[in-house]
């Protein structure tokens, strides 16, 4: 039992708890929060598993994950605030149009 396995186990349990929150809800925002948290934990698990298997090139993957997590959440904000993905999130740039 290495430390990597222990950490991986802890991350998995934590993912399970976040998934439980995602299923329980109650609001849609709780579910976004859980999906986001699962994303962060996935990033960590990938890094740890990469070290466990002796293949740290998994880290590129971890970077992609955090990037995708971020874009997903921004899209959600936009969807909630405006109901469309179309216009700008911010109006500061439209002044000089």
């Amino acid at each position: 039992m290495t430390i990597f396995s222990i950490t991986a186990f802890a991350i998995l349990v934590s993912v399970a708890m976040a998934l439980a929150r995602a299923i329980l809800g109650p609001t849609a925002y709780d579910r976004i929060l859980s999906a986001n948290a699962i994303g962060t934990k996935t990033v960590l698990l990938i890094a740890v598993v990469g070290f466990m298997n002796g293949r740290p090139d998994f880290l590129d993957l971890a970077l992609v994950y955090s990037l995708m997590n971020f874009i997903g959440t921004i899209a959600v904000l936009k969807y909630f605030k405006f109901g469309t993905l179309r216009g700008g999130l911010s109006d500061t740039r439209d002044k000089d149009l």
């Binding site: 299923i23 994950y65 997903g72 109901g83 179309r86």
Partner: protein
């Protein structure tokens, strides 16, 4: 430990998928699906399939969520309740599922030494000859881009066709008043007003952070594109990350500004150019006297030829995927109008 991880992840996956099926609110289903997608990719990681996990990460968890949201903005987020519980489909699904489970008993153990994959001559050849013949460390790339170049060409064409299809369906002239573009900028919902303070109309934080991040996201896409020979990555993943960079830009600054930067016509040009580049490499190798997509003849030295061929082909895939993702995003996002909706 390995076994435990797999079983645990499978259980989570089943729980998540059942929840996706169960919920009636499509938005909630989208969020759960993105969580399930993360779990799925974790499974790929534990199976040591980095390239697949890479694609799942980029496509399943990231872009799909954005595209689903784009669709929801078009169709609304509540599902019509099912008419009635029908027995025959249930029985059919159960029996097919039962047959599949029965079939798994015949499957070899994961990682066993005597599975067909391990014993196949093809595997031996890929593992032993490809480093000499093609000379790049990432075997997945040499198999995908060289040995099975035809397959990948087909896949690229599928992506191309999908993008064309979406464009055809979604870019039809749409009855829309010209001033709508201006109005929807301030589509804040009134619900926030009774809280004594309205949400800020411009979101400074994502705005500034994205400005800092976007150049690095694009650079990372290029990095993935050119390092597909050495580690996980390649054209597909790079294309999706590149598109993600532009989609982030579009989410923050608005579709109209992105379209000014990269008009739909240019995207369409890139879309076709990528496929043509791939096919062009094939034709070039035919002109040089080899078979279609036989990179050995592209240069005097066969290994150098393979390198050049794979590089160009991956570039073609990357360009096509970027353009296809953007075209699909333009199609979905460009059509939806802002409107208030109930999500809770």
């Amino acid at each position: 430990m390995e076994e435990f991880t797999d079983i645990f992840l499978m259980l989570l996956l089943v729980a998540g998928s059942l929840a996706v099926l169960y919920v009636r609110n499509l938005f909630v289903a989208t969020m759960l699906l993105s969580a399930v997608s993360f779990l799925m990719a974790l499974l790929f990681v534990t199976l040591d399939a980095v390239d697949v996990a890479f694609t799942e990460a980029a496509v399943g968890a990231g872009i799909s969520t954005v595209l689903y949201l784009g669709t929801l903005a078009l169709v609304g987020s509540s599902e019509r309740p099912a008419a009635k519980l029908s027995v025959i489909p249930l029985l059919l699904a159960l029996s097919v599922g039962g047959a599949l489970i029965y079939a798994t008993f015949d499957m070899p153990v994961i990682g066993a030494a005597d599975t067909p994959v391990q014993l196949s001559n093809l595997t031996k050849r890929f593992v032993e000859i490809s480093p000499i013949e093609i000379g790049i460390p990432n075997m997945v790339t040499s198999v995908l881009a060289s040995y099975r170049g035809f397959d990948t060409f087909g896949e690229t064409t599928v992506v191309f066709t999908a993008a064309i299809g979406v464009l055809l369906i979604l870019s039809q002239k749409h009855v829309r008043r010209p001033e709508e573009d201006e109005v929807e900028q301030s589509g804040l919902k009134p619900a926030a007003k009774d809280h004594g303070q309205v949400g800020s109309p411009h979101d400074l934080i994502p705005h500034v952070v994205s400005k800092v991040l976007i150049p690095f996201i694009l650079l990372f896409a290029f990095y993935v594109q050119f390092h597909g020979d050495f580690g996980p990555g390649g054209g597909f993943q790079a294309g999706v990350i590149m598109a993600a960079g532009f989609i982030l830009y579009s989410l923050i600054f608005g579709l109209h500004i992105t379209k000014k930067l990269l008009p739909l016509r240019v995207v369409e040009l890139f879309l076709a150019f990528g496929v043509l580049l791939y096919g062009g490499v094939g034709v070039a190798s035919m002109i040089k006297g080899g078979n279609f997509l036989d990179y050995n003849v592209l240069s005097a030295d066969p290994v150098a030829g393979q390198h050049l061929g794979i590089l160009l082909v991956e570039l073609g895939v990357g360009i096509t995927v970027t353009a296809a993702m953007l075209a699909i995003f333009y199609g979905f996002a460009g059509r939806a109008q802002g409107r208030g909706k109930d999500v809770n």
